[in-house]
Amino acid sequence: MLEIIDLTKRYGPVVALDGASFTARPGRIVGFLGPNGAGKTTTMRCVFGLAAPDRGEVRWKGQPVDRDMRLRFGYMPEQRGLYPRMRVAEQLSYFGQQHGMSGKAANASAAAWLERMGLGDRAKSKLEELSHGNQQRVQLATALVHDPELLVLDEPFSGLDPIGIATMTDVVREQASKGSGVVFSSHQLDLVEDVCEDVVIIARGRIVASGAIDELKAASGRQHLEIEVAGAHGDWLDGHGALQVLDRSGDKVKLLVDRSVDLTDLLARAKAAGEVRTFSYEPPKLSELFMEAVAPEPAADTREVA
């Protein structure tokens, strides 16, 4: 289990992390979400010792993370980069060995990953001779070549074509099913919703929401309600204060309701207005949870994240 505990980091006047804490469970894919500048990359850098937090710590399996543990982690930074003039297979093998593999094991693993990425015939090519998409594949293979226990990917989907996205998704799922921890950041929320079981949402250096996506949705105060009453044009809703009407077309209304709304009462009203054809209750989309979570806090809110 990866535990991020109270991480705080300032760069001069800029507060990059402000007491961020969350955990990532092994075998589960964690989507790490947040607007630009929220502290995602800084958090990841703290995991890899690339940034030293001013306060707080990172733990892995209950122990503070040290260099030897990091050798069993795999990292794909947001700013991609490998040695442009180094041959692809040698490059992968080099990084495998830097993670503690023997030369032989690293060579074998490099070859296997290149095969897996469909680059078996490019093993002797220099990185710069590959297309952008293939360079991305090599970058992913670099993070995986030593079979890491924890995989941390910063924006792995950015710049990928649909085939690349499919490969990336497969690999991420495969790693998680093997029991590895997988944390990745992304702005593509639909993709995250599709791939991840858990999400962590960070804003202004603090964690504003974290947990299983389903639980977060269920706990959300904002549920979607779609009601269709034949011939009623939605007039029957008038005078009901606690509702937010999202869309009204024909006989259909789409509503956003919070927990205080009595659904039984609402259904009774609809029935009174006419024949109820649809009364469907749906959890919010991840993107809505996200927007809600990252909305600026009221100034008076000084809550501490434990």
Partner: protein
């Protein structure tokens, strides 16, 4: 994983990647070609077919000219013999280039005589002439009715060689070796130190450094890089020196001073120390830059120090190898790599000074590396623009 393995992997990557690159192979081949060429081309142009101009000072023993010509033929050596009326006229020709070598032997063959050259004797021609005079004198002694054994022994003495200019042959060669040494160290520091500099910037520019540093400590990366590129520097230096020695020996262009092996060892030692000192400085300053163009700016102070040290060495120290400036510069790590081998080439430095200078330089390298590693760690992950040294130092914790 032990740190040495991490450092070794970094160093090995540098050696393999750069050592196999066309650039490195070409540069080794090119410098070797220049060294060999600088010995071989003059040998072809000036040696061989061009006859050596030999001057004979009158009065001279009869038959001397014929003896020299005969001897030259035997040695397969071309000479043109001119007779000068006086010693002064001969020396004038020697200075003016009318004669390469002047021979003066007593007309009665009572002594071995003298060979005079302008600066450095041409060994082959000197041998030709010695053979001629010895033959004449031996014949003369044997021609007497009763052969005087001591006169016969004396007759076999070759003429003495004297240079018109004060420098002896050894000084000449020492000067040359010292100069070549200083240039080699300067070029080595510049070419390989700058390889470290551009290597650091390349890693930063390609962003690979973030992946590398997720497993490798920043100071281990810097150390591996400096050591790996240093190995290539040593390889190039070894090829260079071997080529120079072989070429010098084969073409007979240069009579190497007896101190040569020591000089070469000392040169290699100071090449390593100088390289380590300067490339460490260049390496961490490179981390302050985000692009290659900024890197040359960042490196300016180091370039200046290296150039000043070099000029102090070749002007002040060659001028007076045991003077005050030379003595001070010996104990100053940035100038020691240039000054110590130079002074040693002139036999103008006591052993204890070499030892103390080496220790001081090693301490300097250690301090610079400790500072440099911290600056490097603080700067290498900051992208965009030039990073201030102070900021890098602070964030390097």
């Amino acid at each position: 994983m032990p740190r040495w393995r991490s450092i070794w992997l970094v160093a090995r990557r540098e050696i393999l990647e750069r050592g196999r690159s066309r650039g490195f192979i070409l540069s080794v081949a090119f410098t070797t070609l220049i060294v060999v060429g600088s010995f071989v081309i003059p040998a072809i142009v000036f040696g061989g077919d061009n006859p050596t101009k030999v001057g004979i000072v009158d009065p001279s023993p009869s038959g001397l000219q014929a003896a020299i010509e005969q001897s030259a033929e035997r040695f397969d050596h071309k000479v043109v013999v001119t007779t000068y009326p006086s010693s002064a006229a001969a020396d004038e020709a020697l200075t003016g280039g009318g004669a390469d070598l002047v021979v003066q032997v007593p007309p009665d063959l009572s002594g071995p005589g003298e060979i005079r050259v302008k600066r450095q004797p041409d060994q082959a021609t000197a041998q030709v002439i010695a053979a001629a005079t010895v033959a004449l004198r031996v014949q003369n002694v044997l021609g007497e009715s009763n052969v005087d054994q001591s006169a016969l022994a004396d007759a076999q003495r070759p003429p003495e060689t004297r240079s018109l200019q004060a420098e002896t042959e050894q000084d000449q060669a020492k000067f040359l070796v010292a100069n070549i040494g200083a240039v080699l160290i300067l070029v080595g520091i510049f070419s390989f130190g700058f390889t470290v500099l551009t290597g650091v910037v390349e890693e930063k520019q390609s962003r690979v450094v973030e992946v590398v540093l997720s497993t490798v400590r920043a100071r281990d990366l810097l150390m591996g890089k400096v050591l790996g590129i240093g190995v290539l520097g040593i390889v190039q230096l070894a090829v260079f020196i071997t080529a120079a020695l072989i070429a010098a020996y084969a073409t007979n262009r240069l009579v190497l001073p007896t101190t040569t092996p020591g000089t070469v060892v000392l040169l290699a030692l100071w090449f390593v120390l100088g390289y380590l000192l300067y490339s460490t400085a260049l390496g961490f300053l490179g981390a302050l830059a985000s692009r290659q163009e900024e890197a040359s700016n960042a490196s300016t102070p180091v370039t200046m120090v290296a150039m000043i040290s070099y000029f102090v060495a070749i002007f002040a120290v060659i001028d007076d190898p045991d003077g005050l400036v030379a003595n001070i510069a010996t104990f100053f790590p940035p100038s020691a790599p240039f000054v110590v081998p130079l002074r040693a080439a002139f036999d103008a430095i006591p052993l204890w000074q070499i030892g103390v200078a080496a220790i001081l330089t090693i301490i300097g390298i250690y301090i610079l590396f400790t500072i440099g590693a911290r600056v490097y760690a603080g700067a290498v992950l900051q992208f965009g623009g030039r990073i201030k040294l102070r900021d890098a130092w602070r964030s390097g914790e």
